[in-house]
Symmetry: C2
Subunit: 360 residues, 2 copies
């Protein structure tokens, strides 16, 4: 194990070579770290901007041992990392951050909501669904409409189905292939907000201003930040983020998706134990963006500042929307962030743009 | 040859794998380009953040052919690129920018000053020195003190010697090994300023606000930007930069070092046909920094905006000064840029920091 803080010249490993890994790598190299990516796809977006890439599955024991030996610290760009992989990396001598508790909690929607409520971060009502009769019972308790989700996996609207009528339960249960599930009450929210926060190895917490998010077809389209939120709302979001980070003994950046109700109440929708799409605005709104912040936390550096110096509108470019680069390149208020993905499949996150709206 | 503008996914080649190549690469990858570095040193700072590195000399014909075939466009991080290398790259099918004229002019101090004066960018008086008797004659005409420099090569104060007394000419000529030289009059300047400017493939020019520079031992230590300069001074610097860029039919970013005299007159000290150390402040002071600007120009994109949103103090960290990262990491006004160089040799440029002083 290496001594903390890790000096520049140390090596950071990243599980996952997509755009999040790419932007983590770019931030790490700005701080003088070398980066090694593990991803099954050769020439991944992150691998192409890093010192090296190991091309292998996330559960390949030899690859994990190699990564762990090459790296002083290893992090990840997605939450579905097998627990056994984390153990293997630690055995090979690498620090891993965030730790296994955060992954375990974030990988199971029931564990996640149970944890959240336990630390005072209120969620919608929910019930565990293992069988169709569980589902019928849950519908009776929670009411309709309600959202049936698989307990594990699924993101960007995948692996979930709305139930609007009690007659739909069997079809819904079949739609998720009868997998272990959770039924969630519908939140009567007026806005979707999110907060990006970080915790360092000494337990210090830093919280960015909230973002306001707009989704389309279950996928994030726009984040406006800093969101117009009352001081009380910002303080409550800070409190929620801190309770979550402390409760997980977390190291790194974490995204918290929130529902804002008409009376200002904030419910936690879900957490992501990683850098988060709704935090991309920080690249052009803050001195220290979420990617550098994450690197700072995992290498044992103090956290950077989180104040916004600009108001930013972040827009995801999906699929062939990336062709808009031709026009966007001429727009002086826009900063382009392209991910180096060759194939613009429909719905694939290809790039985002940060439009600087003015000083914060 | 590829059609312009080059789309994301195209490949940019860079001759030179130091910190300037590294930051060009990082900017290019943000725009979705792949980058290939050519540098004789394996695992160069730029190579470690790029898709690939060819390890070979800058005059290696096979390496240049390979680079030219891999890349849609090739640029460089230093001005002493052999003209034959540029030809080889073009033969292999790559666009090269900036072009050979800029390199030829910038590689010879006599050609440079002759060109500058021809386009109305005034310099100090100078004389060509090929022999000791040339030098004695030049001293008689130009007066003392005067600065004797080799016509070619030399940077950061290397390859130059001050002459303060007519009795010193022989020693001075010997100090530069009797190489072809230039004698330059001393400029009675009150400040050293610089201007970073860019020209795109359609001839459009964009100019950043001026920086004020402080050197120590012939090496840049600090740039403060935007410098406090009158509107007339800024306009004159803009005019000088535009005359130089147009005169060279230039494509890319160019740095112009200026002497400001007591009456506000601006003399051109030298030009660098590349991104420039005195432009590093733009990374944290502008939406589009000099590295992205350079990439935009060479790939045929429109230039980005050059207005400053923040006042920045850029400081170079040389040799073991880089150890200051431990303290600087805790300073919320500082953004660190480390170059990933393993060995902190005395005087070696290891990193720079941008201190954000406030809104511009």
């Amino acid at each position: 194990m290496s001594d903390l803080p890790l000096p520049p010249g140390s090596t950071l490993g990243v599980l996952g070579g997509g755009q999040l890994g790419r932007m983590i790598s770019q931030a790490a190299s700005r701080l003088g770290f070398d980066v090694v990516i593990l991803d099954p796809e050769a020439d991944s977006p992150a691998g192409r901007v890093s010192a090296a890439q190991i091309v292998a599955g996330y559960d390949d024991p030899d690859a994990l041992t190699r990564l762990g030996r090459l790296c002083d610290v290893v992090t990840f760009e997605f939450e579905n990392v097998p627990a056994a992989s984390i153990e293997r990396l630690a055995e090979a001598g690498a620090l891993v951050a965030p730790g296994p508790t955060a992954l375990r909690v974030a990988q199971d929607r029931v564990d996640e909501k149970t944890f959240l409520n336990a630390v005072g971060a209120t969620t919608v009502d929910f019930a565990v669904v293992d069988t169709l009769s569980d589902l019928d019972e849950a519908v009776a308790v929670i009411g309709l409409p309600a959202l049936l989700k698989t307990r594990r996996e699924g993101y960007d609207g995948k692996g979930q189905v709305w139930i609007r009528d009690a007659a739909e339960t069997a079809a819904a249960f079949e739609a998720i292939s009868g997998r272990p599930a959770i039924l969630e009450a519908a939140a009567a929210f007026t806005r979707e907000l999110s907060v990006i926060a970080a915790r360092d190895r000494d337990g210090a917490v830093a919280v960015y201003p909230l973002g306001e998010n707009r989704h389309a077809n279950g996928v994030l389209k726009i984040t406006l930040a800093p969101a117009e939120v009352s001081a009380a709302g910002q303080a409550r979001a800070h409190e929620i983020a801190e309770a979550i980070l402390d409760g997980l003994d977390y190291v790194g950046v974490l995204g918290v998706e929130l529902f804002e109700l008409a009376d200002g109440t904030l419910l936690v929708n879900e957490i992501a134990p990683r850098v988060h799409n709704t935090g991309h605005w920080t690249q052009d709104g803050c001195v220290c963006d979420q990617f550098e912040q994450h690197v700072r936390a995992v290498v044992g550096w103090p956290l950077g500042p989180t104040a916004a110096h600009a108001r930013v509108e972040m827009t995801n470019l999906l699929g062939d929307e990336v062709e808009a680069w031709r026009d966007l390149a001429s727009d002086p208020a826009v900063r382009l962030h392209l991910y180096g993905k060759a194939e613009a499949r429909p719905g694939r996150k290809m790039a985002h743009v940060n439009r600087v709206l003015g000083s914060a």
